[in-house]
């Protein structure tokens, strides 16, 4: 599965929203995720992909997270 689909699936399950509503350019703010929800998301992504992600201030959209995963 491509990184984006997997991240979208994690968010959809976590937030209980339809996966179709999540596009790469969707921001966490639009999805109603605050900074601690984003930390939770990063933790789930780390677990799902077996990677470690440095939390910087610029994880604002789904694509930002996908970029970090693909660079890891």
């Amino acid at each position: 599965m491509a990184s984006f689909e997997k991240v979208a699936q994690i968010i959809a399950e976590h937030r209980d929203i339809p996966q179709d509503n999540i596009k790469p350019e969707t921001s966490f703010q639009e999805l109603g995720l605050d900074s601690l929800d984003t930390v939770e998301l990063v933790m789930s992504v780390e677990e799902a992909f077996g990677i470690t992600i440095e939390m910087t201030g610029d994880l604002k959209t789904v694509q930002d997270v996908v970029n970090v995963i693909d660079a890891a």
């Binding site: 605050d34 900074s35 601690l36 930390v39 939770e40 990063v42 933790m43 939390m55």
Partner: protein, 314 residues
Amino acid sequence: MGVGSALPEHVVTNDMLSGFLDTSDEWITTRTGIKERRVVTTETLAELSATAAKRALAMAGIEAAQLSYILCATTSADYAIPSLACQVQQMLGASCPAMDVNAACTGFLYALDMADALFARDPNARVLVIGAEAMSRLVEWNDRSTAVLFGDGAGALVLGPGSDLKSMLVTAAGDPDPLYARHANGNSPYAVKRERAPLRMDGHAVYRFAVPTIVRDVSAAIARAGMTEDDIDAVLLHQANLRIVDAAAQRLNIPRDKFKTNIQSRGNTSAASIPILMDELQREGHLPQGSVLALAAFGGGLTTGACVLAWGVS
């Protein structure tokens, strides 16, 4: 066993904080669950601790003279010398050994671990364990990212002979960076001048450390007690952030309503949070005799601790 607590009189609401900090009740409530906290004005930490201890002794039906040991978990005592425990000892009129334990927010669990060791030496011991903090002395009140989180107070537990402690574990991972408050050098003419640094915290790092370690430690403490998650009647986590309690509850196979909280009105009182919560639950009748409790905490160090115990108040 007896339990007691004492809080400063002064209530500081979120709206009071937004009067001098760029923050809001809405932000603090959604990010932390905290609505208000108590902060010391004229009270000393020794007074609060002694009041909490007297209540615990009264409940246990024990005189101070019968105590074998006083352990105070604190990072913010009134004095560097003597220990808070010795101040409390004087106020109670006890004559046993007394000392402080510093394991940051995990201090109360560490002190329970020490008490457990004392019972191994003398099964008939009576140990007073106190968690007491005036975090308002350590935080930088101009820093909205930490000032809104903490509160002051004291809680005490009197422990007697018995086998109510079912399991106990504590950990430390030497890593000062995520959370620290540094002493000044005084006026030593030899030392390089170093300012006191108020409490500094990397909130994301602490959150990411806390959630998985609570889950790991609570699970391990339950397993070591030879129990399963179903056997746990109440979970008392260190009250650091309601979001951390929620995240831990989601990952443990224990219903959310068994996770007890009072952070809403107390804030994060560091080493005092668990004994204060215990006392409030006891007084509200939420801890029937024989209830099985899981306790867990984490904090600067980084330290963690967890235990399972049967609630046996006398």
